[in-house]
Amino acid sequence: MSNALQNDTLESDRELASTPLVQLSMQQAINRALGEILEADDRALIFGEDVGLLGGVFRVTDGLQQRFGANRVFDTPLAESGILGTAIGLAMAGFHPIPEIQFDGFAYPAVNQIITQLARMNYRSRGTLPMPVTLRVPSFGGIRAPEHHGESLESLFAHVPGLKVVSPSNPQQAYHLLKHAASMPDPVIFMEPKARYWNKADVNLTDNRTGGAVDSASVEGSVIARPGKHATLIAWGAMVSRCLQVAELAAEDGIELEVLDLRWLKPIDEAGLAASVSRTRRAIVVHEGPHTAGLGAEVAALVSQSCFDSLRAPVERVTGFDVPYPSGDLEDEYIPNIDRILFGVQRVLEYRRG
């Protein structure tokens, strides 16, 4: 695991002149990845609520049932525990399920199956019943949706032994991380930042394979979304683009912020975190989920452990509050906004020992 400069910016992509670049929204990039997964792996199955003819409420599975048939892409009854339990049984039968939970908050009825079964079947069976299940969960807030249509479940899932958790920040990441997750023999919770579904960006469709081996730097660990030297903003999902905005603003004042896109929330790229923060010597972790026992606490602990001697200030956390995700009208007060992140940066930069 190591961080690498991500190649989602136009500048870095243009260096790879021969590679196919297409402009896609994240929703389109995931759709494209799913199609390629179904094409390449005849044991892969997509199912969930409204994922068939409708193409999902976010249209992420649009056209896949028409293309691959109703055996490969099918609607289930409206019951999330049933979706997960069925996925586990299909995995036991040798399939590679890619179920969709329609909205993050609807994962709660499935949490029993996720924690007591999906995450443990490989362990319980001593490795004889692997669970190559990629669970897609449209995640986080920012779209003014009803209650439970915007939740941040990463610390819940990251706490469960046996699960891996990843969240892409842009179409390029989404396309490659999903293909990678679906190739993994372990359960992966794939948290799609729904607020970023419709933002378009260039996607480099080359599969990052050299000599048949996956270029691990492209799909594993964290990436530096923007290099800087005064402090590291650590974020994932939709907060990465917000941190990039913050870095842009800070640059006007001569403050060079590094933005680290953590991507994998379990396992966390400890070496990547350490490499960045030991250079910048200051860290601010930003997430939408509630503060207490949020994943920022884990990140802060890891950074403190690995960078204690070089840190110039305590690791700052800019997060949601310990309140339920509020109604859309108050969402901007809850989700870390540019001002709150800048205040966090300021606290870190102004910190003086003693």
Binding site: M1, D42, L45, N71, T76, P77, A79, S81, G82, L84, G85, T86, A87, I88, G89, L90, A91, M92, A93, G94, F95, P97, N112, Q113, T116, Q117, M121, N122, Y123, R124, S125, R126, G127, T128, L129, P130, P161, G162, K164, M184, P185, D186, K266, P267, I268, E270, A271
Partner: protein
Amino acid sequence: MAPRALAATLDTLPPPVLPLVEADAAGPAQLRDLYRMLSNVRQLDAAAVAWQRQGLIPGYAPMLGQEAAQVGAGAAVDTTRDFVFPTYREMGVAYTVGVNMVDYMSTHKAIWHGGLYDAVATHFAPFQAVVGGSVLHAVGWAHGQTLNAASAAETALGVGLAFLGDGASSQGDVHEAMNFAAILRAPVVFFVQNNGWAISVPTEQQVAGGSVAARAAGYGIPAVRVDGNDVLAVLSATQRAVAHARAGLGPVVVEAMTYRRGPHSTSDDPGRYRTLDDEKIDGGEDPLSRFRSMLLAGNVADAASFAEVDAQAQQQADEIRDGVVALSSRPGSEMFDFVFQESTPTLGAQARQWREESEHV
């Protein structure tokens, strides 16, 4: 009150498409084999309770009284293509389908949660402690058989057998499983052992309407409610159900009315919620003595042959005990080894730290 097993029958399973080998027509050899399995299961169950009292194993969930239900159901399983999804009280099914019983008992010795037996090779899913937790897995697995058949043009489907009890029938997952199975037309048999008790709560306070099988109608699923203490009745009902599912006609609910004659577990005290008189009346005649009477009446076996089989069963239980005694702890490194197929750097670091700090002592 009448014994529970004699509760009204229900049978909405249509006649088989292909004629079955009827259990009623089972030959003397098969009947004697069924008795052999019943006797072995009875002896092993009693032995496991004794092992707990002796301190050999920390706990066990006895199945006394449910031998006919479990042997009858297990004998209908084709382990070359079907798959059993058990709960934590299916020792008799495990024995009947040929699971290595030392490896099975390892879970009760607290060696490994899921047991040490090979679930894939034996077509018997890992020991399941979550009530109703594996019922949906049977549906998913069974749907997988349908999908396999769609691509391979097979006609005889593997059948998933989901085992659950009257207590589990209260779980939402069981509703979801039956609904999914019916919608997907999955080859599943939901085998319900209605044993009258979910720890201390009787079926009357557990199952609204009084019957899990009766609920099947709401899903458009055929159901059979059978005397679960009659091994031939259970075998016949399960064979019919499996044949129905195998033919691609969808799921079936079998509700075997039986009685948990012992405690919920070796930690339980039934004296706090039922009397010995209750147990005598509600339990009815012991399923083994019933089958013995039938075999005697049919001149299939005699007292001497029963004594011989029972002695062999005792010997086998003793051999299994030796195996359980010999089971050693798994290495602590296995805590880390089986979390993932592909471990993580974080977990690897924890494993290294565990090793260094445990070897230091």
